[in-house]
């Protein structure tokens, strides 16, 4: 998928060059990605043999359907998989689709299968099934690289574990001899450097409270509050549904159940427009897709959410709009040659500042920051933290989602840990450590959910 700049890969003791997924395939290496790579409208058989169909006539491109079905049946049987070869992949469950991927890897006679977070979408029964298959593959002499942040899975399956952190090798250990606590310690490792200019603000009255937020299959009875002048960190692993929580509060995703209160008043939020009216802002995680309007200028991006304010009878007063954009671009130190520069030409950090400037331009005093410093350089990060400090000093309430524990520890007053759409832990700034948060995020048992009372506001 990506070509390395340096380094060597050896297969069966021989040094090889892999420049393309085809090369890997030819060497007997298959990868099963977190997001499955199947063609949903094709059948199981067609997917397994995609691009390698047995042919009746190669010249005419006529597929030998009987041979295709026959060979598919053999492979499925060897995996003990009860799926008709002509079923369409989109009609299968996620677990079965994953099995189809494994069947495909087997049909390629792969001797090494890389699995990237294969259980992220599976139920526990399906996981047992997958594990049985993996053990069977192991018995047949297939090597497996199993990528996971679920340490219980690593314990259950692994012979050896290699721990990577920030793109570097930390250690390789024998799983049987290494307790989970030790694995966590290796994963965390680094010292907390003082990169976080946390401002000390005395929290005031309640800014945002959410109660029993529930969305079937996604959020399970999520309740929390954040006070003015407070930064609430939302920690958890990828897939803990923290982004979904923020989007639900912001009206970008539907809610089946739950109540949202802003400054103590219940509010109804059915769309981002409603959220903005109730002075909530969401700085989204995916800057490119959800934050910036790449082909529009810095000025137009900054004023997008507050544009009616600079308009009279629907006509924009460019003088006032420009003055406002200039003021915010200057105070946030957006590095741009001029306000008319298209945002796409700015660096990631400056794009993020433009997005934040857009939200500062609204009346918002509840801010949901979703991975606010993802993909921006260290200098810009500190500037973003300073902006958050300014906000809490002015009495804003901030919820900060972050997958970087140092950031969570460095900037939060209080920390909530989520796992599988539930809040599974809460820490005060003073007793939080990376180890404790990570352990909670990895192993945290869901809090038993109380009866759901009260109507959705």
């Amino acid at each position: 998928m990506y070509a390395p700049d340096a380094g060597e890969i050896h297969v069966d003791g021989r040094k090889v060059r892999i420049r393309h997924p085809h090369d890997a395939q030819a060497l007997g290496i298959s990868t099963i990605h977190q997001e499955l790579n199947l063609a949903p409208d094709l059948s199981v058989a067609e997917n397994i043999f995609l691009g390698r169909e047995p042919m009746l006539s190669r010249a005419l491109g006529v597929v030998d359907r009987r041979a295709l079905m026959q060979r598919t049946r053999q492979i499925l049987a060897s995996l003990d998989l009860q799926v008709p070869p002509d079923a369409k992949v989109k009609d299968l469950g996620v677990a079965e689709q994953q099995m189809v991927e494994i069947a495909k890897a087997l049909s390629l006679e792969s001797r090494l299968i890389v699995m990237d977070e294969p259980t992220s979408a599976l139920t526990s029964r399906e996981i047992d099934r997958l594990f049985a298959t993996i053990r069977e593959l192991k018995r047949r002499g297939v090597a497996i690289v199993y990528i996971s942040h679920r340490l219980d899975e690593v314990k259950a399956l692994g012979d050896r574990a290699t721990i990577l952190r920030d793109g570097g090798l930390v250690s390789t250990v024998e799983v049987a001899e290494t307790p989970i606590d030790e694995l966590i310690r290796l994963m965390v490792g680094r010292d907390l450097k003082d990169k976080f200019p946390k401002a000390n603000v005395e929290p005031g009255e309640e800014g945002l409270r959410v109660e029993h937020l529930t969305r079937t299959g996604v959020l399970h009875d999520v309740s929390f509050h954040v006070r003015r002048g407070e930064i609430l960190g939302l920690a958890g692993l990828v897939g803990a549904k923290r982004t979904e929580t923020a989007r639900a509060i912001f009206g970008a995703d539907p809610l089946d159940w739950g109540r949202i209160l802003v400054h103590g008043t219940p509010v109804t939020i059915g769309s981002p427009r409603d959220a903005i009216r109730h002075r909530i802002a969401l700085i989204p995680e995916d800057r490119k897709r959800q934050g910036i309007l790449a082909s529009m200028s810095v000025r137009e991006n900054i004023t997008l959410s507050s544009l009616p304010r600079f308009a009279r009878a629907g006509v924009v007063d460019f003088g006032r709009e420009r003055a406002h954009a200039r003021e915010y671009a200057t105070s946030l130190r957006v590095a741009t040659p001029d306000l008319e520069r298209q945002v796409v030409y700015l660096s990631g950090g400056n794009q993020q500042k433009v997005v934040i400037a857009k939200w500062l331009s609204t009346d918002a005093d509840v801010f949901l920051f979703d991975e606010p410093t993802r993909g921006i350089d260290v200098g810009a990060k500190v500037e973003v933290y300073q902006l958050m400090n300014d906000l809490v000093r002015r009495g804003a309430a901030i919820v900060m989602i972050s997958s970087e524990l140092p950031e969570i520890l460095g900037m939060s007053d209080r920390i909530l840990v989520m796992r599988d759409g539930r809040i599974v832990g809460e820490f005060d700034r003073r007793d939080a450590t990376e180890e404790r948060i990570l352990e909670c995020a990895l192993r945290g048992a869901p809090v038993p959910s109380p009866d759901l009372h009260g109507a959705r506001a």
């Binding site: 981002p272 427009r273 897709r289 529009m296 997008l304 629907g314 460019f318 857009k358």
Partner: protein, 319 residues
Amino acid sequence: MITAAGVPSTSPRRIRWGQLGMPAVIVLMMVAFGSENPNFWSATNIANVSRQASTLALISIGQTFAILSAGIDLSVGSLLALVSVVCAQEMLRFGVVGGMVAGVLAGGLAGLVNGVLIAKARVPAFIATLGMLVAARGVALTLSGGLPIGGLPRAFLVVGAGYWGPFPIPTVIAAVAFAGAHLVLSRTVFGRYVYAMGSNEEAAVLSGINVVKHKILVYVASGLFAGVAGVVLTSRVVSGQPTLGETQELYSIAAVVIGGGKITGGVGGMGKTLMGVLVLAILSNGLNLIQVSSYVQNIVIGAIIVGAVYIDLARERRR
């Protein structure tokens, strides 16, 4: 109004050479055609060209809104026919003004249907307006029984054939419409939201823009401009015609992209579209005057559509 930089820049104004490309091409074309055939510059010819181009100009305005918002309006050609039939039939009943109003409203109504299908029912714009392309033509043929509707009041003919000073009235209507649409697009909140929807719809929604409402407005506007165009065209052909406007939607799309509008939305403008309309109009007139057959003209125009977009892309890649 032709300056593409409708939005004032904060830095002192520089000459943007990149934006002079299209006007330069148009001037070159005019000089070339003029030297081949002096009639090109005659007042009569210029009046005729601008009168003929007014229909394309009007529907291209609506198309610009649609394409800028990352949509498309394939129905505008058929709407010309629908509007023409409605306009003529109602005119025979309610008089000149009644007929004209009915025609424009018929366009707007069809646009509203497009808009609701696209914004509310989330039918892709290409499909929704493709359906309207077929259906509107069907309605026009049904209402008229497939026959032209004649006997329109003489007073109506001034809309298509009259002059305002030295300028043909259709030309004046198209010019005023372009100026107005340019102001709406570059100066109003609605205009900004059109660009925002086309640039990144998801981000626009998350920024609190009412995308459903503004998308509907885009297609209503496109329908209304097709309505005006249909009324003018009806006057020019002095009858309600259910067969008007075939393939005109494709030329309106061509006008937008030749001018430099991006087919995927977010980039473009009325000034740019006007350039595209002028290129198409001058080209076909000039080729006529130097006696290039209409068959060959199609080849040239086809090549220019692709060529213009290719040059745009190549320039973007070099940046």
